[in-house]
Symmetry: C2
């Protein structure tokens, strides 16, 4: 029996930082589709709290057990974490009973870059 | 008759940059409510294209007449620009026939700051 670990494939169209700063030139329809997904994922207060809870947790990762104090049920927490994962903002790994979530730094950096201001003229 | 111009009042709860980086500590419910609005405003592909069209337009401002080539009707364009304005991302000013929109740099900078990564340990 093989002990090889099968790594999940990343989906480039959701996680790959794709686009120049929003202030550089008008986005194409395709760029806007890809980028809006990431902003939309953070456009919900509960998701934003969960994202912040994971992002600021010790070691940069957290399991559902660590971050369930946002006033919604655990299935709702799991649902929102899944949405953040689909948007490429979080990655996850099962270890024993729990699934651990971690912020994807490259995606966070790419979103930050989108919001870069143009140099003063 | 007075010629005094009445300036619209800013709404501090929507436009004021409020919060530390998402990676610094878990957001409170109130912080998440305020911040999610800004992300949500950019979480729609058409709004993101319009925002990018304004942000990248010559002189940092654009009127509806400049940015109507995103494949939706002009009332829809106006609707989305209003949403971006309500989120504090754009400001507007009427000059003659047209309303001109401009990116609010402080809000863009605040959103960028929210996405700041923590310093490497």
């Amino acid at each position: 029996m093989s002990n090889t670990k099968v790594l999940p494939l990343l989906e480039p169209e959701t996680v790959a930082p794709c686009c120049p700063p929003l202030t550089e030139r008008p986005f194409t329809a395709e760029e806007a589709e890809r980028t809006a997904k990431m902003f939309k994922a953070l456009g919900d207060p509960v998701r934003l709290r969960l994202f912040s809870a994971v992002a600021s947790h010790e070691g940069g990762e957290a399991c559902v057990c660590d971050i369930s104090d946002v006033g919604v049920s655990q299935p709702t927490v799991s649902h929102h974490l899944k949405k953040l994962k689909e948007a490429g903002l979080l990655t996850s790994e099962r270890r024993g009973t729990w699934v651990y979530y971690r912020v994807e730094p490259s995606v966070l950096a790419a979103m930050g870059k989108l919001l870069t201001l143009p140099p003063a003229a």
